[in-house]
Amino acid sequence: MVRGKIAAHALALVATVLLGGLLSATLVRLAPGFEADVQELDPHLNAASVTALREARRQDHNILQFYLSYMNRAAHGDLGTSLALGQPVRTLLLDRAPLTLRLLATGLALAWVLSLTLALSAAWLRLSIYDTLTTVVSGTFLCIPAAVLALLSVLWNVPGSSAIALIVFPHTYRYARNLLVKAYSQPHVITARAKGLAEPRILFWHVVPVVAPQLLAVAGVSVSMAVGAAIPVEALCGLAGIGQLAWQAALARDLPLLVNITILVTLVTLLANSGADVIGHMVRGQES
């Protein structure tokens, strides 16, 4: 029974990932500029070369055909070759994945430590001035363009992960704060407080079980926020990660690379979110 459920989930996951790849291929293929190459503007190229350039692009004309042959090759471990960089996509991704993973992990950890600390203290203190202050601080970071935060990290020579943390933290903070404040204002928590129960006990017995599933959902979503933030941060901080690669690929309409990156991102998003769901279910299950 359980095994069947897991299998069904895994199947749904694979189907979603593959659909994501197909949809992204369609989006890239249909967007204007796919058959255009900056190279065409080189006045040295003669007509035959320009035609050859365009022909090379048109090979992937039929999206479905492209995608089927891609999946066929992917099943044999060949992820295709990047159009813009001329290297196998597999090597490109493998070379750059560790850096991005480290960046995301550190950035997310920092963001969550920061936002949980602030959110919990806001809920505990219940001081309107403190609440306003944290709102201003998180609001400020929300209003600063991501590129500026990335540039600041270069200027002050701090790791790019702190820029990721500062981009993600206002989002997670606001959700966490609202959820925690709401949880603390529930009747049974107020009663517990009135009874003089110790704060840690209230937190772990009465608050965490209520907000855990939702906070976990926020945590799942924050992974995709961090992935989005990695693009400007890596590009500006000169970090050779997948975010930088994704940006290059988008500008060059590098279909094979983009499809693989989307599939990778979809996979990470799905795993993060369904992981959060599963843990959330477990917490809720324990509670009832």
Binding site: A12, T16, L19, G20, L23, S24, L27, V28, L30, A31, P32, G33, R126, S128, D131, T132, T135, V136, G139, T140, L142, C143, I144, P145, A146, A147, V148, L151, L152, L155, P170, H171, R174, Y175, R177, N178, L179, V181, K182, S185, P213, Q214, L216, A217, V218, V221, S224, V227, A246, A250, L258, T262, T266, T269, L270, N273, D277, G280, R284, S288
Partner: protein, 269 residues
């Protein structure tokens, strides 16, 4: 309403009022180029100095407020409503519905929407008025920005569904629709307010970034996003602190929105 909220109201009214009175406060207009005074520091004639091509920054901030302060909250509202409907309903209905809705949400979170926006630009004529372009851009942002909140809402609604009081209400024979609106939706508020508040500055900034795709507010019309982009020439900003004014203004406005919302949350008393 506490004193903070009164202040917030006053600030929002002041900013909105000033932007509506832009014609009177900055009679030179946002497009006039004072070509002999480019990149000027603040002076009597130009309170916030001038930009690269000599346009009065004060006027640009005022006129930019009109577009950004009208459209960004509207787009934020759209995305919040979509999140509430998709996430809330999916969580409330539960089961296969929830799983399907969440799969769609996850897909939405990971697709390269950049290309949809590029296509949207291609479908629009080149000679389109800046207002229409801005409107389309903000609506697109609102349409694409619901995903993160929907995921959290689905979980919230899901746990509400299995909570005691909803079970009791259902047992008492409350019809499903009423149950959803009366018991489930109000409990989704913390997430919805967070979504609304976060979306406003995020959309304002995204609008400026979409300028690279030819979407968004077109020259010579200003927007807060394009004013904030000036900060990216970071090497020089330190020497020109007045360039921070749009940022400060945006932070103040966003904070004011939050203070007004927090009344609804019934805590910050």
């Amino acid at each position: 309403m506490n004193s903070w909220q009164k202040l917030a109201c006053a600030v929002l009214a002041l900013v909105l009022g000033a932007s509506l009175a832009a014609n009177l406060l900055a009679p030179g207009g946002y497009a006039k180029q004072y070509r002999e005074a480019t990149n000027a520091p603040p002076s009597h004639a130009h309170w916030l100095g001038t930009d690269d091509v000599g346009r009065d920054r004060f006027a640009r901030v005022l006129y930019g407020t009109r577009i950004s302060l009208l459209l960004a909250p509207a787009a934020a509202l759209l995305s919040t409503l979509m999140a509430a409907l998709i996430g809330g309903l999916a969580g409330y209905l539960g089961g296969t519905w929830a799983r399907m809705a969440m799969a769609v949400t996850d897909l939405f979170l990971s697709l390269p929407w950049l290309f949809l926006l590029i296509t949207a630009r291609a479908l629009m004529p080149l000679n389109v008025s800046p207002q229409v372009s801005a409107l389309v851009t903000f609506m697109l942002l609102g349409f694409l920005g619901w995903t993160a909140a929907a995921r959290v809402l689905c979980t919230t609604a899901g746990s509400l569904r299995s909570s005691d009081f909803v079970r009791q209400a259902r047992a008492a024979g409350l019809p499903g629709q009423r149950l959803f609106w009366v018991h489930v939706m109000p409990n989704l508020r913390p997430v919805l307010y967070a979504q609304f508040w976060i979306s406003i500055p995020v959309f304002i900034l995204s609008e400026a970034n979409l300028g690279i795709l030819g979407l968004g507010v077109a020259e010579p019309m200003p927007s807060w996003g394009s004013l904030l982009k000036e900060l990216e020439g970071l090497v020089s900003v330190g020497e020109e602190p007045w360039k921070f004014v749009p940022l400060i203004l945006l932070v103040v406005v966003v904070t004011s929105f939050q203070l007004l919302l927090s009344r609804q949350e019934g805590v910050a008393a």
